[in-house]
């Protein structure tokens, strides 16, 4: 009886131990939510490792990682934040790589509002244009850059509403409260086409490239699953998924 109990306890402890070893905790930039969920599912099927995903603003993740958040892999919305973390020594040296290049889209939930040249911005016949907060979100910086290049930044300044991150920006537009807004193409693009409304795929030359870098964080140093995920993100299967959401690579 006693030995049976001991064996059961032993088994429980062991199974817990192995399960933890096969899990990887990942902080994911909000714009990469949809593709990452697909990739994580494939990753688990192919390798048996489970990816625990947390989505949010890159700036917030930065503050949390610096203050000891238990993430092992970080998929940033930009390339500067991972670089900063690398300088500060909170990442595994040499683990940084670009997993996707973000594409900006001017999008409206209504069909026919946004033309395929972005002329709607010059006409200015709308009350609110949603952008991500340029102070904290790379997509917000890119959106303002586009407005400046088009010469409409000043004219539209009063119409800007700012989402905390690209996900909230999308929400403002999706709910119709803002007629249009700059969102990540990945949010409105799936399987090679627009999922709804009308959009202008902003040409890459109108803003600095939205290079999105990933790093393995210090806490993932000795975790095989973290390394496996990083490798998987660079593989062919992940690349196809990433491309289908409109990202470049």
């Amino acid at each position: 009886m006693q030995s049976l109990l001991a064996r059961l306890l032993c088994a429980a402890v062991l199974s817990c131990g192995t399960a933890r070893a096969a899990e990887v905790s990942v902080a994911v930039a909000a714009n990469f939510t949809a593709p990452m969920q697909k990739i994580a599912a494939e990753f688990e099927r192919d390798t048996g490792h489970k990816a625990q995903l947390a989505f949010g603003a890159t700036g917030k993740f930065y503050a949390q990682i610096r203050n000891g958040a238990p993430f092992e892999v970080f998929l940033s919305a930009d390339d500067t934040t991972p670089a900063k973390l690398e300088e500060e020594g909170t990442v595994v040296a040499g683990s940084r790589f670009t997993y996707a290049i973000g594409k900006l889209a001017l999008w409206s939930a209504q069909p026919g509002v946004v033309d395929d040249k972005g002329e709607v911005l010059r006409r200015g016949a709308f009350a609110h244009l949603a952008v991500a907060n340029p102070k904290t979100a790379p997509y917000g910086v890119a959106a303002l850059e586009v407005l400046r290049k088009l010469g409409v930044a000043d004219a539209l300044a009063a119409k800007l509403v700012t989402g905390e991150n690209i996900a909230q920006t999308h929400q403002f537009v999706a709910s119709g409260n803002a007629e249009l807004g700059f969102v990540a193409l990945s949010q409105v693009w799936s399987d090679g086409r627009l999922t709804g409304g009308s959009a202008w795929r902003v040409p890459a030359e109108l803003h600095a490239p939205l290079r999105q870098d990933a790093v393995i964080l210090a806490k993932g140093r000795d975790k095989p699953a973290a390394r496996a995920l990083a490798d998987y993100l660079r593989g062919a299967k992940a690349a196809a998924i990433i491309k289908s959401y409109g990202y470049g690579q």
Binding site: N133, V161, T162, E164, N177, A178
Partner: protein, 223 residues
């Protein structure tokens, strides 16, 4: 130190809290009165709706307000039909959101104050020729005055401390919808910790002061 944008956020926050509190006292008083006096079967349901903001995450309130006040939502269609336009991303929209969000903080102290008065003073007033409205102003209001002070202070303070709802429906527009709590969040996100500290410490001091005054008042009132 604090920037002009910080001061603008503080001014906006105080304006929002003042307007919200004033509106809440006007609409909260009859609601609280009804809740305190009714024997209707609806009392439970109305009381629960009033208390909802106490338990709901502000994001839920903000999300639904955004949808309801949006162009396809019932409130949005109403405001458009009335020629008022849409409420999100406007000061008026924040006021509407704050009124709902802070409703229980005003209604519940008032309701408790009204309930504490009881039936007797109203009956006495009736036997002294005072009609219902007369009684309300000459007896109920003076007797419930501590409840009104508590309600106003809590409503004001809670609106000042509001964040999630404003973030969801405000759109972070300087001098229109960027209140102190959002400004602090932006500072933290942008790693401007010094400015975040100034505003945050101010909020802590303000909240402490409010609660301290409220509590010392209560102790003084009990005698």
């Amino acid at each position: 130190m604090m920037s002009a944008a910080d001061f603008a956020a503080i001014r906006l926050t105080l304006e929002l809290a003042a307007v919200t509190t004033a509106i809440l006292l006007v609409i909260g008083t009859p609601v609280a009165w009804w809740l305190a006096r009714t024997r209707s079967a609806w009392k439970g349901a109305v009381g629960a709706v009033v208390a909802l903001p106490l338990v709901l995450p502000p994001t839920v309130i903000g999300f639904y307000l955004l949808v309801m006040m949006g162009p396809h939502g019932p409130v949005g269609q109403l405001t458009q039909a009335l020629g008022l336009g849409l409420l999100p991303f406007s000061f008026a929209g924040l006021v509407v959101g704050s009124v709902f969000y802070s409703l229980p903080f005003v209604v519940q102290p008032l309701q408790q104050a009204f309930e504490a008065i009881g039936e007797r003073p109203l009956e006495v007033a009736a036997t002294l020729r005072a009609g219902a409205l007369d009684t309300f102003f000459s007896v109920v209001l003076p007797l419930a005055r501590p409840g009104f002070v508590t309600a106003a202070v809590l409503g004001f303070a809670h609106t000042v401390g509001e964040f999630g709802v404003v973030l969801m429906i405000g759109g972070n527009i300087p001098e229109k919808t960027r209140v102190v709590s959002v400004q602090i969040y932006d500072h933290v996100e942008a790693l401007e910790y010094a400015q975040a500290h100034w505003l945050s410490a101010g909020m802590v001091a303000f909240s402490f002061l409010v609660l301290f005054l409220l509590h010392s008042r209560k102790r003084g009132g009990a005698r």
